[in-house]
């Protein structure tokens, strides 16, 4: 095929662009496309995906290819682009007509004459594809972010608030989460108005189950109401859409799926329509929000049970008894629990004075805590028939032995059990009995610290164990301190050595003026510092201080125990 043929036939019989009247104002008119003598250049160009427009330095078109003409139908040789009704080309992406194009500009100098070649590529489809991809990625990113944020709160209200806050503005300008009604009432949260200027405002309320919009009931049944069901009107009636123009708002509602039935419903309102992709994203978000709410409800139910059980097993505030000041500190090994294998307590005796105890059971965690509950209940019952500490411990031993044999779990306990009664000359007279527990220490009025000589055998191992007993006199201002092995065996220092009894005695020296609660706190603090963040066993401290019977105890328990606060 000769060049002349190509030039003449102009591939495919399209109308040959004829040279229009030369544009006098813009350089030398060149006339028709210049035929190549070496290559069928026009053919090559016409089969490029890129369109080519060649102009002289002043912008007058010298030549163009067929794809360029398809993109810019008005092109004519001898005119400027403006003269052909085409916007000027710039390097980079731009819109030409209804197409998206990307342009390159190349300066060509051939035989002293300079031309400008514009390569114009139609990228409309590519852009659409990459827009779709970006949108898809954006949706995936949004859902991933939502999953992460929705997984954080384990509280129902907070999860619901997080869901509506996250939904705005990506899913809609208004988002409402309504939880399935309980006892005839449904709680809801709404977020509206969030944009770059600030986070969405969240409010909420309660709706009588009878007043729920029909579409919500439908969603709670697992159906997806269609937009035609006057959704906007229903939600405007519920007061959720504010003063939005109902003719220009699109509303959708989807169920928040739960493990059994729908946990609630999510509705979004926006001024643009939702396409199928948007609906998929809405449903994906609802699935995640539903799972988060479901988890929060589950957590609440379980936490309620755990709290009730913990409260029944946690140490109780000792009763106020004349002449006695109590102080206690307790740090369970598992810090998320408030209970453990150490226990302490006190009971007022009908004949005056009090019975008090501190002990430690074998094992750790919840099992151990349950066992301490059994022991405390045993003591509570047995003290009514026996108030002598040694005999009471023997009775307790038999009872524990019977239970552990029946259950076959081989648990045992150590404890110090004491009775305090006012001494005739002031102060307290203590009778202490020990079942294999660490001996208590006494802080004397002169600041010295004595260790009480008291041993004995474990409780719940053999029938009729040897129980040691001893009498200790406390003058007013003197304190007897019971503690568990979590104190002396706390590992700290540089290399994790045990705290030991010597350090405890040193830490208590000179503390004779401290009230009992401050003493107990001091031990807890010293051990805490020693541990320096290391793990530890249960730590319990119980201080019994002799005070003059007249000294007021009215403020003694004014500070609510922080463990009771939770």
């Amino acid at each position: 095929m000769s060049t002349a043929d190509v030039a003449g036939s102009e591939s495919g019989g399209r109308p040959v662009p004829t040279a229009a009247t030369p544009d006098r104002s813009a350089g030398t008119p060149v006339g028709r496309r210049r035929p190549s003598v070496v290559l069928p250049a026009a053919t090559v160009l016409d089969n490029f995906r890129e369109g080519v427009v060649v102009t002289d330095p002043a912008g007058v078109i010298r030549e163009f290819s067929e794809p360029a003409l398809r993109l810019m139908p008005g092109l004519a040789v001898g005119r400027t682009l403006a003269g052909c009704g085409v916007n000027p080309l710039t390097v980079g992406e731009q819109t030409v007509g209804d197409r998206r194009v990307r342009c390159r500009r190349v300066e060509l100098t051939v035989g002293g004459a300079t031309s400008i070649a514009w390569y114009v590529e139609d990228v409309t489809d590519a852009v659409a594809r990459s827009d779709a991809l970006l949108a898809e990625r954006g949706r995936a990113r949004f859902l991933a972010m939502a999953s992460q944020k929705l997984g954080n709160p384990l509280h129902e209200d907070r999860a619901a608030r997080a869901a509506v806050r996250l939904a705005v503005p990506t899913l809609g300008e208004v988002a409402v989460v309504l939880l399935a009604p309980r006892r005839g009432r449904a709680r809801w949260w709404r977020a509206a108005g969030g944009d770059a200027d600030g986070p969405a405002l969240v409010d909420g309320g309660v709706l009588d189950a009878d007043d729920m919009p029909a579409a919500v009931e439908q969603a709670l049944r697992g159906e997806e109401p269609s937009e035609a069901d006057w959704l906007a009107d229903q939600f405007a009636d519920a007061g959720w859409l504010g003063d939005r123009d109902l003719t220009r708002v699109t509303v959708r509602v989807v169920a928040l799926p739960g493990s059994a039935s729908a946990t609630g419903a999510l509705l979004v309102a926006r001024s643009t329509d939702l396409d199928e992709h948007d609906m998929d994203m809405l449903r994906g978000f609802a699935a995640r929000a539903g799972a988060a709410l479901d988890a929060a409800v589950l957590y609440r139910d379980q936490a309620e049970v755990a709290e009730t059980l913990q409260n029944s097993l946690a140490p109780t505030e000792p009763p106020s008894v004349g002449g006695v000041q109590w102080g206690a500190a307790y740090r369970p090994a598992q810090s998320s629990l408030r209970i453990g294998g150490d226990f302490y307590g006190a009971h007022e005796l009908p004949e005056g004075g009090a019975l008090f105890y501190l002990g430690d059971v074998s094992g750790k965690g919840v099992d151990a805590a349950v066992f301490t509950g059994q022991i405390r209940q045993g003591l509570q019952a047995l003290r009514r028939i026996e108030s002598d500490p040694a005999r009471l411990l023997t009775l307790l031993n038999d009872s524990v032995l019977e239970t552990t044999r029946a259950n076959g779990h081989g648990r045992f306990a150590t404890m110090v059990l004491g009775r305090a009664h006012p001494a005739p000359g002031g102060g307290l007279s203590l009778t202490l009995a020990s079942g294999g527990h660490l001996p208590p220490v006494v802080i004397r009025a002169d600041g010295s610290v004595e260790t009480v000589d008291l041993r004995g055998m474990l409780i719940g191992v053999v029938p009729d164990p040897r129980i040691a007993a001893v009498n200790v006199q406390l003058a007013a201002g003197e304190t007897c301190l019971l503690f568990s092995d979590g104190v002396t065996e706390a590992r700290g220092g540089v290399r994790g050595e045990q705290f030991g009894a010597t350090r405890l005695v040193d830490a208590l020296g000179g503390c004779q003026r401290m009230p009992a609660p401050a003493l107990a706190e001091r031990v807890e603090q010293v051990i805490g510092d020693w541990l320096g963040g290391r793990n530890h066993d249960d730590i319990a401290v119980f201080a019994v201080r002799a005070v003059s019977p007249g000294s007021p105890t009215r403020h003694l328990h004014a500070v609510p125990d922080r463990r009771l606060a939770s």
Partner: protein
Amino acid sequence: MTAVLDRTLDGAYPDYLRCLDDADETGAIDIAVALLDYGVPADRVLLDLVAPAQAQVGEWWARNEWSVAQEHAATHVSERVVAAVAATVRPRPSRERIVVACLDGEWHALPARLVAEVLRLDGWDVTFLGASVPSPHLVSYLHRHDPRAVLLACALPMRLPHAFRAIEACRRTDVPVLVGGRAFGADGRWARKLGVAWAADARAASAVLATPAFDVPHGASFLDDAEYAGLVAARVELIDLALDRLDLARYSPPQVDATVADLGYIVDSLTAAVYVDDATLFGEFVSWMRTVLASRKVPLQTVGSTFDVMAGRLRDFPRARAYLRGAAPRLAA
């Protein structure tokens, strides 16, 4: 007590200090309650009587004029006074629930407790969880009770790395966090560094809590810091190196423990300074330590040579080394 109780804060202050000195709980409470009866507002009793008296106690301890046992007994009395004031006033909560807690290892609960009570007087529904609250317990509490915000108190700058971990744990419950306490710097600069909202005092805290969205996490990109991680790993080795240089045979066992604890504080403060990338954290610690040690007749040149030993080991730790060198003159100052 039969003495006539003073009607003004200034007049009552010396008597109140005397009660702390005597660990006289009843006397201290009588003074505070009398002031309330005379019409002194409860927040002033807390912030202008209890708080400065407690600061005074801390100073006496630092200057070795009071034993730690005396300080502890006085703190206990202050706690009871705060409780008595709260019980007398009994504000009715009209605002949302706020949780106040001291971070794990923080035993100085009184400042946080004062903040809690002032917030209560401001109408907030406050739960005070007390001293040294373990993070897992705090987090489960937040999950369970969904408060408006949690206030975390931290007094010791050397505990900032721990504090930040606790802050992050709280944020994961989606509950906004506000911090306070001397640990974050007198002007809150280390709170800013960690990207967490900070309040200078109880009244400022109440104002911050009233703003809609105060906890916007930001910054903290510096936290993946190899030098910090290296210091944490070298902690025991640094303490051992310093101990090797001391003639421990001359020390009593409690003195050995105290020395080990002090060396731990030095390393932890240095580590915290690197963590927030600020030499002044270590400098302020050294000035404070100098007061404490000097009043206890501990020769400061042993501390100086400890710094040299540590700086020698920390050849690959440019910032820690510079902080040690930079702080050495403060020992002499």
